[in-house]
């Protein structure tokens, strides 16, 4: 299946099938995808599913203003204009979720960096406390440090609170 292999090596099988179903591919691409769809039952089912979803979307009822709403529409617009209620133009910024959807690799890299930072910070703190004894820097009170082969437990009290925090470090290989 050379054609199927071509689609998979491009890594855009899903995107191309969706675009093919919507008739959005350039003629050359369309012909190549069509030749794949002819011999690939799974691809054919996917294309059909996309087409039915699109048809269902286009079949959603349009909504219209009621007679009362239509009659009151322009007077309300005029009232807002006269009141100077025009909204201050605000730049529409993409939400975090959309940025993550649009840039999945960036999101993964960010998450990985955050995890590395957290691990580094934790290790450096433990080492610092181990060297300086209690109380630790910045007013952190180290209540106990139990180091064992399998499990180590650190109990400390952040400054300005009565909260006691317990960190348990487990050896996951045991």
């Amino acid at each position: 299946m050379r054609a199927v292999h071509w689609l998979h090596t491009l890594g855009g099988l899903g995107r191309r099938l969706a675009a093919y179903a919507a008739g959005e591919l350039a003629p050359a691409d369309r012909d190549r995808v069509a030749s794949v769809v002819r011999v690939c039952p799974a691809c054919r089912r996917t294309v059909e599913a996309y087409r039915r979803t699109s048809a269902a979307l286009r079949g959603l009822p349009r909504v219209a203003l009621t007679a009362d709403e239509a009659a009151a529409f322009l007077p309300e617009v005029n009232r807002r204009i006269d009141q100077g209620r025009a909204v201050t133009p605000r730049p529409v910024r993409a939400g975090l979720r959309e940025v993550m959807w649009d840039h999945p690799r960036l999101s993964l890299a960010s998450a990985f960096t955050a995890i590395l930072l957290l691990i580094g910070l934790t290790l450096s703190q433990v080492q610092m406390w181990g060297l300086s004894g209690t109380p630790g820097r910045n007013g952190v009170d180290i209540i106990s440090v139990d180091v064992d082969e399998d499990v180590s437990v650190l109990v400390f009290q952040p400054p300005g609170t009565s909260l006691k925090v317990i960190w348990v470090f487990e050896d996951s290989s045991t």
């Binding site: 599913a49 079949g59 349009r62 909504v63 203003l65 529409f73 617009v77 209620r85 025009a86 979720r97």
Partner: protein, 196 residues
């Protein structure tokens, strides 16, 4: 310049309105209010919010008429304003609970054209179920993805027009469209056979 039916075209009305002619602006509003309301509704999926967004869009358009250069049609320009306001509205609303979709509030203009015949109760019920699923699926999409999907699938805009309307590049339009379509397809998967 009057159009073929004796009505002034949009460009003429925009020019007059930009000079402060409120009657010309009123004519523009009345000509486009239904379409703008429908577009707002398809994105925000709530009648009250859609009405507010549509009216605010015209208020904003009036304030910006002097900046309308006429490179695009008035409709395309309005698309941009409405979609941005609708996205903004959704983001504000998402800080609280999303409004429930109430299909009873939707008034079909073209019922029967694309959908099941109303005299077939079983098919009508299935169609209603699919619509409800679809609406819920749309509501789960992030605002910008929802807007791109509506502009493409319901309004029939080209990629370029969508990119201009939502202020992003073509690649982002394609990416958002793909994710939105895939998500909806998954939502509808168990009911796809009913759409034959």
């Amino acid at each position: 310049m009057p159009g073929p039916e004796g009505r002034a075209d949009d460009r003429t009305l925009v020019e007059q309105a930009a000079r402060g002619d409120r009657e010309a602006f009123g004519a523009l509003v009345q000509r486009h209010q239904d379409r703008i309301f429908n577009l707002a509704y398809q994105v925000v999926r709530n009648r009250e919010d859609a009405l507010d967004v549509a009216q605010e869009a015209f208020v904003k358009a009036f304030a910006s008429l002097s900046r309308f250069k006429g490179e695009a049609s008035f409709t395309t320009w309005m698309h941009r304003i409405v979609v941005n306001l609708a996205i903004d509205c959704l983001r504000r609303r998402r800080r609280g609970e999303p409004a429930a979709y109430d299909d009873r509030l939707a008034i079909p203009e073209d019922a029967g054209q694309n959908l099941a015949a109303p005299d077939d109760p079983e098919t009508a019920l299935e169609t209603q179920q699919v619509r409800t699923l679809l609406s819920r699926g749309i509501e789960t999409l992030p605002p910008a993805h929802r807007a791109v999907l509506v502009l493409r699938e319901i309004e029939g805009l080209s990629y370029e027009e969508i990119a201009r309307a939502v202020g992003c590049n073509l690649g982002t339009v394609m990416s958002r469209l793909f994710y939105a379509r895939r998500k909806l397809q998954k939502v509808l998967q168990p009911n796809l056979d009913d759409l034959r």
